[in-house]
């Protein structure tokens, strides 16, 4: 599919229509459809990228990669009503491609260009910051097929069905992988006392 360049004087008209209409507009190259898709779901895509890759990823480059892939493969939308799920899937697979590319470059001395130092968040103590870094260090050690569903379910809080759609697997498979991912995560977290503290933190409403 040819990607058409944009004209300087083109005016963006807000797209009015549900996801099915938007999917149809996208597939028929209707002017403004891509912008509308972006405006509707860029925040969601960014969130999924951060949950699966962490906050040290170069968010803008990854966001750009996802939508480039989206525009190139919009003919693959099977059900316009599930447009968001399809977007999540493209995002997850773009994140997977990034992880695989990055692991091939690990021998480089410097951090990969996709990773930037995390922006320090004021009033966040170092321990919390380190604990979350430890989380993603553990995720790096997990098989991708467990890491992705685990991150989407446990960290993002996505529903099981949405996780299944995003990972393009069945509901039964996603449950199994999340269960395995949980076990693996808890085992690996044993080497990180900060995480153990967080995992042992009192749960509201539970008896001591």
């Amino acid at each position: 599919m040819t990607i058409v360049g944009q004209h300087k004087n083109r005016v963006s008209v807000p797209f009015i229509g549900d996801d099915e209409a938007l999917a149809r507009a996208l597939q028929s190259n209707q002017p403004g459809a891509r912008e509308a898709l972006y405006d509707r779901y860029a925040t969601h895509v960014r969130r999924v990228l951060v949950r699966t890759l962490g906050t040290t990823v170069d968010i803008q480059d990854r966001l750009h990669d996802v939508f480039l892939e989206v525009f190139n493969s919009s003919s693959g939308i099977r059900d316009g009503a599930k447009l968001k799920g399809w977007l999540s899937r493209v995002t997850v697979f773009t994140a997977i491609a990034h992880i695989r590319r990055r692991s091939k470059r690990r021998w480089l001395v410097y951090s990969a260009p996709e990773e930037v130092p995390e922006m320090a968040v004021p009033a966040m103590d170092n321990e919390k910051r380190q604990a979350v870094r430890d989380v993603y260090a553990i995720l790096e050690k997990m098989p991708i097929k467990e890491r992705m569903p685990f991150a989407l379910r446990v960290i993002d809080g996505m529903s099981l069905q949405d996780v299944a759609d995003a990972c393009d697997i069945s509901l039964a498979t996603v449950k199994r992988r999340i269960s395995k991912g949980r076990l693996r995560f808890e085992t690996l977290a044993g080497k990180y006392p900060l995480l153990q503290d967080m995992l042992r933190a009192d749960v509201p409403g539970r008896q001591q």
């Binding site: 360049g5 944009q6 525009f71 260009p113 009033a123 910051r129 809080g157 967080m198 749960v203």
Partner: protein, 437 residues
Amino acid sequence: MNRITVFGGAVRDYQDTILKERDRYTDDISMVRTRLFSDESISSLGNASPRRWSRLGIGALASGVAMVVLGWLVWPGATDGMNKHSGTHFRIDNWVQAAAGETREIAFDDGSVVRLEGGSGRIVSQQKRRVRYVLERGTATVQVVHHSDTQWVVSVGPYQVNVVGTVFEVTWRPESQYFRLVLWEGAVDLYGPMIEAGRKINSAERFEAWITDGRVSISSLEKEGTRKDSDGSVSVDGGDRTANDKAAARPPVVESDDPGGRTGRGDSVVVKKTVTAPDDHVLSWSAMNKNGQFQEVVSQAEAEGFAHVWTARPVEDILALADAARLVQRLPVSMEAYQWIRKRFGGTVYASNAAFELGRMTLDRHRDYEGAASWLELYLNERPTGPFAREALGRLMESRQQMGDGAGAAAAAHRYLESFPDGPHGELARTLIFVKH
């Protein structure tokens, strides 16, 4: 709700806070939108698929490997020439040092400039117009030209200045725990001790902090008649600093890497050559911590030999090692570091703060309530109005309570409520006072 769900929620909340903070300075969504839908975007490549483009990108990276091995940072984001200066590439992550009275500049080709006076600092990272600069000590005048994607983070001691386009000067004297920010143009958000929630500093304002004394001051430059010179350089009338700065500052001991000797006072020395990094073991551990390189700090200390570190290293390095060791769970190393600080630098604010950290670790990690109480009381005796007094009293209350020392807990609770009636331990304090033992 099980604990891993709660845990996942905590991670999610942390990330959302980071994103919210990020959105204050950089609009990812808009910037990527511009990239995707501009005339010059990748979409104008026509039939090029993203996957094919990625392979091309990897090929380009491979061809750059030799340059990476040589130590030059040649990332795609850096080839827009930001670092070029007189045809010489400045090497990211190298220290730039200036002796007292000497000035060194790093100039970027978008017009942004960092001018260092009598101290040391370095660019930790730079990607397009996102720059992270650490001022280790001394004074730096930072002039950032605003673009839509400008995002500078300047770390100065325990403070962080977030910048999108402005001119300001920062000073850090670690030996006296004195910080100053002078804002000449624009506005910045400043975070750090005593202003943890952040404070906007506006044009023609000066912010000063004496961390040891727990004191801050915000004053107007306009009232003093300070100005920016017509040649664009920034200075205070008479080329002098405030009386407070003179009182607070002691000249930092730095060495110039200019073999020709020092230039005259006030002269600018523009970096015309590649500056070489000093030995990584010197003055770099606190900056490495800021960069999250905790394990590396500990490894370097191990390689040097802890015995040597404890007896020969300056207090800033031992502090940095104590922090790093704590964060990578080498608690015995961390505790030993703090104990050596007390031994070698007794009577200083560092020694008092070390007592607080020892108290905190003893309580949090070892649940040794009696030991924790001793350290916390030591801190409170030495620094009753210090920056950690509130937290120390709160933890002292907890320790005494856990020891079953009701009277001691109540005494600490009274002290707490006198000084910090609205503090986070206020409720506990009120409970302790009314519990009969």
